[in-house]
Symmetry: C2
Subunit: 407 residues, 2 copies
Amino acid sequence: MKNILVAQSGGPTAAINATVAGVVTVALSSKNVGKIYGAKNGIQGVLDETFIDLREKIKNNEDLVLLSHTPAAALGSCRLKLKDLNKDKAQFEKIVEVLRKHEINCFVYIGGNDSMDTVDKLSQYCKNHNITDITVVGAPKTVDNDLVGTDHCPGFGSAAKYIGVTFAELERDCNVYKTKAVTIVEVMGRNAGWLTAAASLARVNGGKGPDYIYLCEPAFSTEKFIEDVKAKLDSQDSVLIAISEGIKNEKGQYVSEQVQSGAVDAFGHAYIAGSAKVLEDLVREKIGCKVRSIELNLMQRCAGHIASATDIEESKMLGMKACQCALEGENGVMASIKRISDAPYVVEYEAVPVSQVSNEEKTVPKDFMNKEGNDVTEKMMDYLKPLIQGEVSQNYKNGIPKQMILY
Amino acid sequence: MKNILVAQSGGPTAAINATVAGVVTVALSSKNVGKIYGAKNGIQGVLDETFIDLREKIKNNEDLVLLSHTPAAALGSCRLKLKDLNKDKAQFEKIVEVLRKHEINCFVYIGGNDSMDTVDKLSQYCKNHNITDITVVGAPKTVDNDLVGTDHCPGFGSAAKYIGVTFAELERDCNVYKTKAVTIVEVMGRNAGWLTAAASLARVNGGKGPDYIYLCEPAFSTEKFIEDVKAKLDSQDSVLIAISEGIKNEKGQYVSEQVQSGAVDAFGHAYIAGSAKVLEDLVREKIGCKVRSIELNLMQRCAGHIASATDIEESKMLGMKACQCALEGENGVMASIKRISDAPYVVEYEAVPVSQVSNEEKTVPKDFMNKEGNDVTEKMMDYLKPLIQGEVSQNYKNGIPKQMILY
């Protein structure tokens, strides 16, 4: 009989609870599983021994579906990075002590880069100390889609769908007036432009979508940007632009940082502006037409009501795969997605060594962006399109989606 | 045989095209209707004679449904306010000349305050000049819900649903970390707090929703605001706040304006910040905890994918009512909604003199807000709840909702 612990870490997404649901699904259906615990607030909850009995909270398939459709991390999250394995063993000793105290054999940790670092270190620690009664497995998650070792990341597809749908709607909104106007929409992503690229999905039904898409990978030139905008304004009234939060100049300096250094407002408050806001000010100054900036902010990562059915299904499958690996004693692996083909869209679920994943970052390859650095290519579209297919049947009550609250 | 012209004006909404669909539905089903035109960009399109033949664009019920579910103004919009009736007749003469040239007998104008001013002036002009072959009728629309003469406005219910759903999702997202953090969300509304009040709908299924809701009607005190936030941070980690774009101090000065006067950033750009951004800076300075501001921006008015089925149905009914009034020669009226009861929710459609509506503004009554000025009352909830009921079955293709493009 094995006992299972699952926890979530890093930024929340619309799909991360589906991965918990996948873990619980396998655990509930296995004769060899005893306790099914969730740790509250990630690895912090392991250190604090704040466990939630998931057999009590999740009774039936209805509960599993509701959990899968609830956005953000239902078990809570943390941003705690474990210390260096060779320098500070106390933290690892404490974790193993807690796991043994509660007779946990399988620990599934769901998260992004930092969380896979935790899986890597903890599984290494167990190997190094011949701890064979504990298996640590990772399940990927990040809206940024920047994990290596997997074709794409759970949570990304739903965020991409939100972004594609929102750009399609913004295009309609911005086109109603006969007035020259520029709308700059900032999308999450400091170092990887995947989410910003998803703005291109507004085009899949023949719409124009954003006129320009600037990812954070190529160096961003404000001069070229103003030239681009002017050129487009010559032939049309409304110009809609997608930019990454993390656009940087040639020196690698964030565009948003350049304005913030030392700037204060009339009250003496520090001026902290996003990249879209900085470019809004620039367009106002250099072109002088109507201009607005929009940040998609938290909504892009927690909009469960417009989640991608493909993403939710894949996220659940990865939780199932991770739980199976843990039950089979595959210490130190991460469940991952291997794409077999784009159209028809076929994937396989596999397990990769987490050491290959942790602390790496997958940015957008050059052939996914155009040469001018102001749009994506067909190759990017082919990659993105399958990930947003299908809509989730949310369970609405009183006009608002029902949610599963675990604590 | 009568010919019909319909046009849209003011800010777009997720429901304004449903009203056009309502007009066209009645027109298509009437034996006495010949041409069905749409004017591009509102009354400007009448002056410019840029007409769209809607019989060509809308062939069947499928087209009507698609139009109803497409956000923003499919006929385009304008912000043109007609001149004073007694001072400048040329504009009115031109409009009547164009309408007569195209043998238009019924003109339905869909919009908010300014648009109803157009309906009022134009219908008055016709009456004053014994023009009996042209009937001008208004249909209400505004996400702000600030029109008098109708229980509520088409477009508001869908925006309210987006806001309620989004706050429910943000609540989940903001609650994942064990860190003191304040999230301030700015909702549209310069002088009427209806949309901000809709944040309370996040509570209908037992959720906590926003911790505070500050509408723009009562005077806003930054001192009291900081006190409120501190009090809540004493007992919980995450504090979620809804504020109106138009919160003002005791002197009636916009909170956002106070910071903007004379402020420049390091590049010498003018500092233009929304009210949430101003309060974010204030919390950072006075409390020093993690704080972020979010603007729901254009998304709240164009999110057709999460439109309220009740709103879309009512918007269509009002278009039908307006078209019927126009066909029956009821010059100078606006189609409107009379609420008979909250639960069960029952409404009637009627016609009110547009002169009572134009240039008036319906703000939130005192008994819809709590005495402290930091939340809404049950009375507000009872008013809001029926308006967000039901979800629209969007027609998705390739993962993105299909849209009806009229030009």
